[in-house]
């Protein structure tokens, strides 16, 4: 079956613009995660959904970052008034179960965001 799909793969925006990044998780996966990965670093947690409920958004760096998953499947990460430090790869992952009990996460290939 299809894996986690993210779009666009690359996004270039000017500082101050708003961007929206999309994630299509594996069908039937309850949990969905967003991560930010800077060059040469490991992914950093941003937010977590269980179905449509956003259970943890503690990793969102500022109130410019907003994520939603209104129908419990597709998720969108929105960044308002982008700044250069927002440049990174944004990774989405999904897992089958509701919690972290031995559930591997399945990652998409990410969206590489460049802010000019």
């Amino acid at each position: 079956g299809a894996g986690v799909s993210q779009s666009p793969r690359y996004k270039v925006a000017k500082r101050g613009q708003d961007v929206a990044l999309r994630c299509d998780p594996i069908s039937g996966h309850v949990s969905l995660f967003w991560y930010q990965q800077a060059l040469g670093q490991g992914p950093e947690f941003l937010t977590y959904f269980q179905n449509e409920a956003q259970l943890d958004k503690s990793g969102l760096p500022s109130d410019r970052f907003f994520a939603e998953r209104p129908e419990g499947s597709v998720s969108t990460l929105k960044i308002q008034r982008t700044q250069q430090e927002d440049s990174a790869v944004y990774l989405c992952a999904s897992s089958l179960g509701r919690t972290g009990f031995g559930q591997p996460q399945h990652f998409g290939d990410g969206t590489r965001l460049s802010i000019l």
Binding site: G42, E44, Y48, A93, F107
Partner: protein, 111 residues
């Protein structure tokens, strides 16, 4: 902040050799996972070891966990050029579903 630290940061070996990568962490964990990332791609789950387990195998992969030392190691036996990638350890702490990743190890396998 990142809880896991991998060692070494970079590793270059000849095809056929074994590769050993280490991960240390700071706080108690529920489980520890290893992921591989090829350049420009997402992460691929390799193996998961729970806090009450000491060793797991999957094909050419062997993972050990020493909770007293707060460390784990990943051994890749009989390495292949296709194993060239970055490898990350990730910790899941308790009932919290977050994964906390280390900075990664860059493995290069020379043909």
């Amino acid at each position: 902040s990142q809880q896991g630290e991998e060692d070494p940061q970079a590793l270059s070996i000849q095809e056929g050799e074994n590769a050993t990568m280490n991960c240390s962490y700071k706080t108690s964990i529920n489980n520890l996972q290893w992921y591989r990332q090829n350049s420009g791609r997402g992460l691929v789950h390799l193996i998961l070891i729970r806090s009450n387990e000491r060793e797991k195998h999957s094909g050419r992969l062997r993972v050990t966990l020493d909770t007293s030392k707060k460390s784990s190691s990943l051994l890749i036996t009989a390495s292949r050029a296709a194993d060239t990638a970055s490898y990350f350890c990730a910790m899941r702490t308790g009932a919290n579903s977050k994964l906390t990743f280390g900075k990664g190890i860059t493995l290069s396998v020379r043909p």
